[in-house]
Structures are given as C-alpha cells and as structure tokens.
Subunit: 194 residues, 6 copies
C-alpha cells in the first residue's frame, strides 16, 4: 500500500516558513511539552516562524483550555472535537480526539466525538453544550436568545456559556488555519489511549 | 465520567425486533464470523429478526466487498469509510475504519478516511475514486459524463466504475439504516489494528 | 425539436458492460416481467452483466417491496418516490412514479410524490412516514430517538419503522447507482396510469 | 386510498381572498383562456382578488413568455420547469411541465425537465441555458462574468441572456408565491400531452 | 487604492442593451423620479431597452411597494432587504437599504436588515414577518400550513400574508435579475439617510 | 417606528458578566482607544470580565491586524469583512465595514465587502485573496494544494498565505463569539467614513 501511506517526512505544514529562534519563554514551553508529552505538538511548530504569533497563540490556548472554568477540561476537549468533526479537520480530530480519550479514559467516547457526537450517550447538560457548539459552528447567524436560554435551563451559568462559545469559536479558527496550511498531526497521537 | 460513558448493555439497535431462529446457512455464517473475527458483527444481528432479509443482505454484501473486482478489498473499504464519513455514520465508521486499518496495516490511513479523506496522500487513481464516491454521495443528481470520463482517465475500466458506484451506493444505504436504527458497533472494533 | 428529443437508441446505462448469459432463475424472472409488465425493467438489464449481482439485487428488492409488511405496497412506493425526488433521480422517479399512479389509481398523487410530497393531502401517519424517510435521506446523522418516537406516536410499530428506514435507505442506494451510470428508464413507464 | 387522494374541492390557494369583480380586460382574458385551454389557470384565479395585481401580473407574464425573443417558447418553458424543479414547486411543475410536453410534443422531455434537466439529451446551447438558469436560482450571488461569457460562447446574444435571466428570475418569484399560498394546479394539466 | 475603487463609468448592467426611446408614460415617470430622488434608479434604466418590459415592471413594482396594504411601506422595504441579504444582492441591498434608513429614520435598522435581520430588536409581529419571508426565500418547498398559521397568530390577515409573500417573492426575482446582469446601484444611495 | 428601533441601553452582550478591574496595561489600552477612536470598542468591553482573556485577545488581534505583513491593513480588513459577511455577523460587519471605509476612503468598497465582495471591481490578486478566505470559511475541508497554488500564482508568498488564512480563521472565531453572545457594535461606527 505504498501509494496511500503517509510519508513520515511530510513537513508540518504545506507552507515554507522557516522557524525563527525560540524566545526563552517558548524554549521553556517546548521543553515542557517534550517532557510531558514526549513531543512538541505540530501546531506549535507551525507557529514557530514568528515568536509574537506563537506566544499570543499559546496564551489564548492555555487560558481557554486549561484555566479555571465551569466546564471540565474534558468537556472543553469534547467541544473541540465535535466542532472539528463538523469542519472535518484532520489535524484537530487526531490531536484532540486523543485528548478526549486520555482525559475520559474512554476510547469509545473519543471515537463518538470524532464521528458523530449525537451517537454518544450524554447527559442532557453535555448534549445541550455540544448542540450549541455545533449550531454555532454551522450557522452562527441563527443563534438566538432561545439558544442561550436552553443552556441556562440545563444548568449553565452565563460565564459557562461564554466558555462554551469561546472554545467552539476558537476551534473554528484553528480548524481553518490547519486546513489552510494542510497541518499534519504528530504521529504519536494516533495510538494514544486506545 | 459516568454520564458520558457508553453503556455496555445498549441493545444493538433502538428498535425492539426479536431475533428469529437462524436458518442453517445463517447459523453457519455466524459461526464462521465468530471463528474468524471473534464476534458476529452487529449489523448481522440487527437483521436477524428475519431470515429472508438477513440472507439477502449477506449475499449483496459479500458479493460487493469480497468478490472479484478491479478494486482491491482495501479500496472498497476506503470507499465505504469515505462515504460513511460524509454521512457521519458512527456504526460504519467504527466497523469499516477498523477494516481499512487492518487491510492496509496503516492506522493513519484509517484515521484519514474517517476524518477527511482529502488529508491522505493518495495516488491520483485513488483520489479520483474517492472524489467520485463522495460526489455521488453528496449530490448524485450532478454526476455526469465528465465524472465517468475522469475515472477512465486515471485507468478505471467501465466495470471498475460500476464497482466504485455500487460500493458508494451501498454504504449510502447502510449508513442510513444504521442511523435510522441507532445501530451500535461491536466494541471489539475500537482497538483493532491501531 | 430534434436536439432535445431523447434518442431511442440510448443504451440502458452509460457504461459498456456486456450482458452475461442469464441463469435459469433469472431467465424465468425476466420472462415473468415481460409477461406481467410487457417489458424487463432497465435496472434489471443494467445488472445483467453479472448473475451473482443480479440475483442478489432481485432478492433484496423483492423482499423489500413485495414481502409482508405493516406498510402497504403503495406506501413503500411512496417512500421510494419521495426519496428519489430528494435525490432528483430520473430513472427512479419515472419507474416508481408510475408505480404510485398504478397502485393508487391516482395520477395526482404520483405527480405530488415526484414534485414535492409536502403538497399531497396525506394522513398524519403517511406524512410522518415520508418526513422521516426524507430526513433520513437528507441528513441521516441527525436522526434521533425523537424521530423514532414520532413514528410510534402515529401508530407505527418498531418493525414498521425498520421497513420505512429500509425502503428509504434502499432507494438512497439505487438512486445513486442510477445516477452514477446514467440509467435510462423504459419508455413504457411515461404514459402508464396517467 | 381515500386518505391520500387529492380532494377536488380544495380551494385554489390556502388564503381566504374573495374574488373581486373582473375588469373588462380581465373578463375578456379569462374568456379567452377558457376558450383556448378549456379552463382559467388557477394562478390567474389566485390573483383575481385585486384587479391591479392581476393585470400587472398578466402583463409581465405574457411579455415574458409570449413576446418576441431569441428564445423559443419551448425554451422559455424549459427554463420555467428546470427552475421550478430546483424549487420543488408543485403548482409550476404541473402547469409548466404540461406546457413543455405540449410545445415539444415530447412527453419524455417534459418529465426530464420536472425530475432532473441534466438527464435530458440537450444541445450544448440548451444545456448552458439551463445550467445558467439553475445556478442563478441556487446561488445568485456567485453569478459572474464567466457565466455570461459561457452563454455568449454557445451563441446567445446579450438580449438572449437578459431573457434567460428574466424567465429564471420570474419563476423564482412565482414558485415562491405558489408555495407561500399552497396554490393548487388545475386538474386538467395532469393528463395533457402525455 | 486604485485597483479596488469602483469605476464611475461602469455601465448600469453588464449586458449591451441599447436604450429604446422612452414612451410618453415612461418619460414622465423618469422625470418624476429625477425630480423626487434626484436621479433615475438604475433598475429602470436597465429595463429601458424595451418599453413593454419597463412598463410592466413599473406597474408591478408600484402596486407592490406603494399601493394600499396592511403592511407599511417600511415593512415592505424591510422584507425587500432581508430577502436581498439572504441572496447577497449588491444592487438591492444598496438601493433598498437606503429606503429602510429613509423611511424609518433609523440608520441602525437599515444596517441590521442588510447584515442580519435577526440582530434587530423587532416586535414579534415584524420578526414573524421576516422569518416567513426568509424561509420562503431559502426553502420555499417547506412552507406549510403551520407557517401561515404562525403569521395569523401574530395578527396578520390573509391579505397581509399574500402581501408578505408577494414582496418576498418579487425580490427573489429582482435579486436574480440584478445578479445575472451585474446591475450597479446609483452612487447616490450610499450616503443617504446615514 | 418605536418597536424596531435599537434600544440605546442594550448591554454590550446578552450574558451577565460583570467587568473585572482593568489591569494597568488594559487601562492604558482602553485610554488609548478612547483617545484615538473616541470610544472603546465593545468587543474589548465584552472581554473585560477577565483580564487574562482580554490581554490574550488584544495580543492576538493587534499582531494579526497591525503587525508587519505582506498584506496591507486594508486588505486584512477586507478579509475580515468578506468572512463576516459569509457568517452574517452584525457586530463585525458594522465595526470592520467602517474600517474598510476609513482605510480605503471608499465607502462603496466598504458596502461591497459587507453585501457581496464579488460585486467589487478588484485586482486579480485581491479577488483571489477573498475567494480563498471565503472558501476557507464555507468549506475548510475542501481547501487543497490547488488553492494554495492559486494564491502563489497571483503573487502571494507563503508567509502572505499564512496571513490570509490567519485573518480569515480569526474572524471565523470572533464572528461566532459575537453571534453566541449577541454582541452589539458601538453606535459610532454606523456613520463613520460614509
């Protein structure tokens, strides 16, 4: 099957953007990734042609996915994957599908988020969260007071609604940056937490 | 994560259809599945409420996916998964995603077919094959002579074109039967050939 | 109007697939078609390049459309045409539109199924049946428990739901095979039961 | 099949709009319709609640479909039906499908326009005409200089392009008025020119 | 910014259709436009290659937008703009966006109709009116009794429903004629009533 | 027209998120906005419930829209508006439509970007830039090597392609955050640079 196999020497993205020297902060951050994950996620290497862009991206990402929130880290990753599935983003589905599997300890849940979140047996709260995220992805111009009221009705606070929206919106950005640049996921993700 | 975990006692489909006694042919076929795969695929158990329907389904399926063809078995599974991805069919993506991984020995290829076949590094022949299958899935009314000519231009015979169309068309059927009945894949598929 | 007229010498499909010798069973079946209908439906002639494929198709088709079911034969044909209308399948609309007219004795009903089933004055039961079939055709990934509950609420059994789904799914297959091969309907259908 | 049969006493539209007294011009026009067709088309009866609206509609319609043009009357009806098929307009498909059959003497052509104009064997000129009309119907915001150039390349003059656009645009209006009011076609159309 | 600036010498439409001599009625009408607006709207100049077409268009337009109706003139313009926004029609959004601003004295309302009518703070009556108009624009084949009932529930009469439908349908026509011909709006509209 | 007028006391967003005390950096930034623009853009006030989120957003935004790039600031704003038009985002169309008018000195160009960028007379370079941005917005999963090659063919460098993609991707994020929260634009934008 030589002709369909992924070539290991594919560059991270399909644009020729030479890496800049890492700033101290970013060198430390890359080292920490390497230590914790065993590799530096390719999205970071993609941004590494420009330290200002890389640092701003990392700040937004870490605040969004790791800072305190009424949403668990797993829930934020579930939104990430459901949105990425709508947008059919190879990079994000591989990288964040692995995160859902790892955080939940449930490989089936990861595969459901990747293929069709509606197939998962979710609580009404989590189902409403993903329905909102995917509606916001598919037709943002139709989101209305009723949609926000629906989230409040299953127990989300206004701050939670911001966080759901912010995560969904963010992956609508990164999905498109990954697709525009043909970003390739690190091979390590594929077998994680299966 | 209790509330999102798949419940192991989910029935195969969401319709109450009591199994009929297996015919001799089907009992032998189920035994063969068990021996070769270690389980009977749930799609077969779903049809087992009626022997005439089960036998007809098995006959079509085996002819389509296993009989002699200008398409390899892997190529037929690639079509199955690319079509099922367009239709976001949880059952078929899990079951046939595993088949792509197993037949190719390439877990990455399986994941690419599931998420977005356009992300795979395919030969022009295989890319044209999947483009045709997905166009036929998405807007069959627009398929025209040019599309068939495009397949011939990369080396497919008219018989091959029939086979591409027949596999793509078949999974447009099974995707919908699985979605209509909320068919659940056998848990064994998830970890296969990762 | 020479340049728009259908050419009578159009082949059944746009692929060159020489007919195989008919098996005894298929020779008998073709003879029966000829006797009952006055012609052999072109979809059968399309499959006649391979007896295994033809026999499997006939088995599935006859079980689905003619075997015992909680759906009348007319209702199964109505589903066939509503689905084919969504998929804009010329072959199936001509052949099965004629069947709706013939089985109902109501040419108007046939034309409504072909153009827009929502224009027909249907019972709530039949309207729910076609709404389900068309939703399953258009966006199978969104079909959910509520949709099945809606069918039960108008009196369908779980077995009926399978049959609605199976007919709708089947025509999503044949519509695509017909479109992929540019299958031409027998001219006899056009004037039937008008 | 009582519950699906069209009720003969359905009103012309689903809005209660009492007919106004016909002006002399409209009385003469209705009489002429009756004499030529054997009935007054329901679209005219729908407008007959207000003579100013009826007269303006008749003026636009007759100029568009009957006045001198580089397009034949049949070609204008073909555009009408292809557009109405995209919009799934029951009224217009029945009424203008009959017109295509009558003007062409070719019932097959009528059925092709109703189901999927791409299935017809058309000259490149007529195919380009319908492709333009349907693109203008489906996504008018994408029509560009290339589309107009494509029409000129198959021999259409700028005046012809106006006429193609004007007929396609007009049926985008009447399709919507018919759908908004649930307009019912005169039963006489169904069997005409089959 | 030379390369993006609109060229002032752009013709009214992208088709070469020499103006016909104005009829007396149309000469008077153009003079009245000039006097009241300071210019002749380009849509009228576009039709001026043929007096029969121009006169019929003017009759329909003036009856629809200016004659007595249960809808205010502003409401009819709001429908015009919401429909034109769905169809992304540059000409109609510029010309009728200005009309909404002028008739309402509310530039914000004009901009909301142009960008997304759902962002406006509308009465339930006006919101239902625009929801109906846009649904009729987007998927006319799905409009049903429930939609008409919804309009009646917020106080619209059957005659009002006709008028909502007729205005929405009309702009589905003119949007497409403008797009097909690349019609350019008079520059005067841009700054009006800001 | 009281019932359609925008209420001046609408809150910035439809979520109750009390403002946090401004950090020194953000206090200085808000003061600078006030001085330069006469107001603080509401998107900044929306984020002001959390300084970490506000600072990260400002860092990304300023780098993207103001830092050195092969794209002019106007071109970046044109992408912002064309993307926001596809997503029908009221907030972004008002705020960035004003920016296009101000930076270009061309109110017509601003209105074209808001309504339909295809109506603008653009250089092939700028047209390709916007076509890519809108394709990436509409169907990111279909972006391929050909699309990147098309940008290179009109003179864009790989770094320019990143910047086009990054701006388009970013507004796919902010459009959704604005829609999810019903963000209201500052009233000052409406009349700017008309």
């Amino acid at each position: 099957m030589d002709d369909t196999a992924r070539r290991d020497d594919d560059p991270v993205i399909a644009l020729a953007l030479p890496a800049a020297p890492l700033s101290d902060a970013m060198a430390a951050y890359f080292a920490k990734c390497d230590e914790k994950l065993g590799f530096v996620p390719n999205v970071l290497r993609a941004y590494a042609f420009d330290m200002a862009k890389l640092e701003a991206f990392v700040a937004v990402y870490n605040d969004l996915m790791l800072a305190a929130s009424g949403l668990t880290k797993l829930e934020r990753e579930m939104i990430a994957v459901a949105v990425s599935s709508h947008n059919r983003c190879y990079y994000c589905l591989v990288a964040h599908g692995a995160a859902v599997r790892a955080l939940s300890g449930d490989p089936v849940l990861g595969e459901q988020m990747v293929t069709n979140y509606r197939a998962a047996r979710l609580s009404p709260r989590q189902r409403a969260m993903l329905d909102f995220a995917v509606k916001l992805t598919e037709s943002p111009w139709t989101v209305a007071d009723e949609d926000r009221a629906g989230l409040r009705a299953v127990g989300f606070s206004d701050r939670d609604i911001w966080d759901i929206a912010a995560v969904a919106a963010f992956f609508n950005m990164t999905n498109r940056l990954a697709s525009a640049t043909d970003m390739r996921p690190n091979p390590e993700y594929h077998a994680q937490a299966r």
